[in-house]
């Protein structure tokens, strides 16, 4: 038991030489790796932690801005208004055609 512990401690001290060339090389490589990774950055919204498109589903809108906004009820009302206007155009055209034929 004590002999095993002693050999372990010997191995540890041999492996970790503070300020040695190995640790310097390893530290520099780590710094370079971190720099490289930070430069690349996330490839999409989901990779950055925000909800975004997944491999099987497309998603367009993930965040809210602080600018001018429209209530969805207004959007729906305008859409129905557009539909109604086109519909009315058809009705008016049909009525005019009927009167013209008469």
């Amino acid at each position: 038991m004590s002999s095993t512990k002693a050999s372990g401690s010997v191995k540890n001290s041999a492996a970790s030489a503070p300020g040695g060339p190995k640790s310097q090389i390893r530290r520099r490589a780590a710094v370079e790796k971190n720099t490289k990774e930070s430069n690349s950055g996330p490839a999409g919204a989901r990779a950055a932690g925000a909800p975004g498109s997944t491999p099987t589903l497309l998603k367009l809108y993930t965040d809210e801005a602080s600018g001018f906004k429209v209530d969805p009820v207004v959007v729906m009302v305008l859409s129905v208004g557009f539909i109604a206007s086109v519909f009315l155009l058809h009705i008016v055209a049909r009525i005019l055609k009927k009167f013209a034929s008469e």
Partner: protein, 475 residues
């Protein structure tokens, strides 16, 4: 930041398209489903209402059956469909992931600029398509229409596109569940198929006044129990080419079953916690890793190509470029009225629809299949990396949750993931492409529609259940 960025450059245009406000309070599930249903209804109505001001021409539809797949309708306001939304979002997300456009997704402000850019590009594509349709004489030539009706038609075709963009945004801002474009496309495909299966509408098939039901199931049942011209009518409903036939309906069911079966095929990567000993679980890596997304992207590009090809054909029908790119043959019988694509480069990107078509033109079938497989595999790999599905992203996910692959050291995990995940993406694209070609040959665009709709519905279901755990628990 050095240099002008695309998302900043496009920012002034974003002010023309204001943002939809997210819900101020928590919406119940029923309210969300109500919003989704409302959006679908608005979209369907846009597809049904005819365009005002069109000249009564005998224009044949060059896109015809393919409209099942891109969300458009031949006679309605929604003639441009959903292809611009899909194309712009795919394009921008892939460009951003390849660093072609500089977006720092770690910043909320950049993410907002990015999604606004997607919206603006969608609107621009809708405008381009609207101008192209009207300029090509689809609704009558300029001399017949006059300037007022010309502009009126462009507006009528363009504004439904803006409405579509906002319908998608309403759903995705939190008023609905899942993805907006997926909901609209899925509902469009399923609506078309439902109509062609159960419709009671009859159409003439010959000069003698004989008619046939449009619905495949209805027609089959009716002809089975009727006695007038029994066998010819039955043969017509079983094998007709002008709409969904009963045999094609059966093929659709087979495609659906095949796809559902394939959804469950996966590789279980054994993982364990790097902290707690003895806890083992599986990380499922599905065969259909990117599902039908690459296929939809390909079809959105094809939709645009078909519109531009038709414009080229109608504006200068005899030029050399037109003959090289696209050649049409008009089909104008009692039952069918369409412009059939028969030659040119665009022809080899158009799927063979129908068994006779595939057999009579084997070169087209082979070239299309190979082209489709290559393109979708390429798109699949791009999409995998763009949506946090690549090997590095999965490794990051493992690290964040203190997980390691059982039997591998941390240094070799990336190599293992880089081996299996791209293969999953490639196999996914390959399988979906083959299945879509087979579905197209035996069940026309309806088979491909079933394939796409099944994938979209399943993906939406997966996301919704994942986001609302109470649904999964059966509460």
């Amino acid at each position: 930041m050095g240099g002008a960025r695309f998302i900043n450059f496009i920012k002034p245009l974003s002010s023309l398209l204001p943002e939809v406000e997210g819900p101020k309070t928590h919406l119940e599930l029923v309210e969300k489903l109500g919003w989704m249903a409302g959006c679908v209804v608005v979209y369907q109505i846009l597809s049904i209402i005819p365009v005002y001001g069109a000249e009564k021409t005998d224009t044949l539809d060059p896109i015809n059956n393919f409209r099942v797949l891109d969300g458009s309708s031949a006679s309605g306001l929604m003639i441009t469909g959903l292809a611009p939304i899909y194309l712009s979002s795919f394009l921008l997300q892939i460009l951003a992931s390849k660093k072609k456009i500089a977006v720092n997704f770690n910043l909320i402000i950049d993410r907002v600029l990015f999604q606004n850019a997607q919206k603006v590009v969608s609107a621009l594509l809708y405008l381009i398509l609207a101008v192209t349709y009207v300029s090509s004489g689809y609704y009558g030539s300029f001399s017949d229409l006059g300037i007022f009706r010309f502009i009126m038609l462009i507006l009528q075709i363009f504004l439904p596109g803006i409405v579509c963009i906002y319908l998608c945004e309403i759903i995705e801002k939190g008023h609905g569940l899942g993805s907006g474009p997926v909901l609209l496309l899925g509902s469009h495909i399923l609506g078309n198929i439902m109509w062609d299966v159960l419709s009671l509408h009859r159409y003439p098939v010959n000069e003698s006044g004989d008619s046939q039901y449009q619905g495949a199931l209805v027609g089959f049942a009716f002809n089975l129990f009727s006695f007038k011209n029994k066998f010819s009518s039955l043969r017509s409903i079983l094998f007709r080419s002008e709409g969904l036939s009963f045999v094609q309906f059966l093929v659709c069911i087979a495609v659906f079953a095949t796809f559902m079966y394939t959804l469950n095929i996966r590789i279980d990567v054994p993982i364990r916690s790097s902290r707690v000993r003895g806890v083992r679980q599986n990380f499922p890596l599905k065969l259909l890793y990117t599902s039908v997304i690459p296929l939809i992207y390909f079809y959105s590009i094809l939709s645009h190509l078909l519109v531009f090809a038709y414009a080229l054909y109608s504006l200068c029908p005899n030029s050399l470029i037109t003959r090289l790119l696209v050649q049409y043959s008009p089909i104008d019988t009692f039952a069918e009225h369409k412009l059939q694509l028969v030659g040119g480069l665009v022809y080899f990107l158009y799927p063979p629809l129908g068994l006779s078509e595939a057999l009579l033109h084997p070169v087209h079938t082979v070239i299309y299949t190979i082209t489709l497989i290559c393109i979708t595999i390429y798109f699949s790999l791009l999409w995998m990396n763009a949506t946090a599905g690549g090997p590095r992203d999965v490794l990051l996910f493992f690290k964040e949750n203190q997980l390691v692959i059982a039997g591998y050291r941390e240094a070799t995990m990336l190599k293992e993931l880089e081996k299996i995940i791209p293969i999953a993406a490639k196999l996914s694209a390959f399988f979906v492409s083959i299945l879509s070609v087979i579905a197209g040959i035996f069940a026309s665009t309806f088979g491909v529609g079933v394939l796409i709709a099944s994938a979209l519905v399943y993906a939406s279901f997966e996301m919704i259940v994942g986001a609302n755990t109470s649904l999964g628990n059966g509460n």
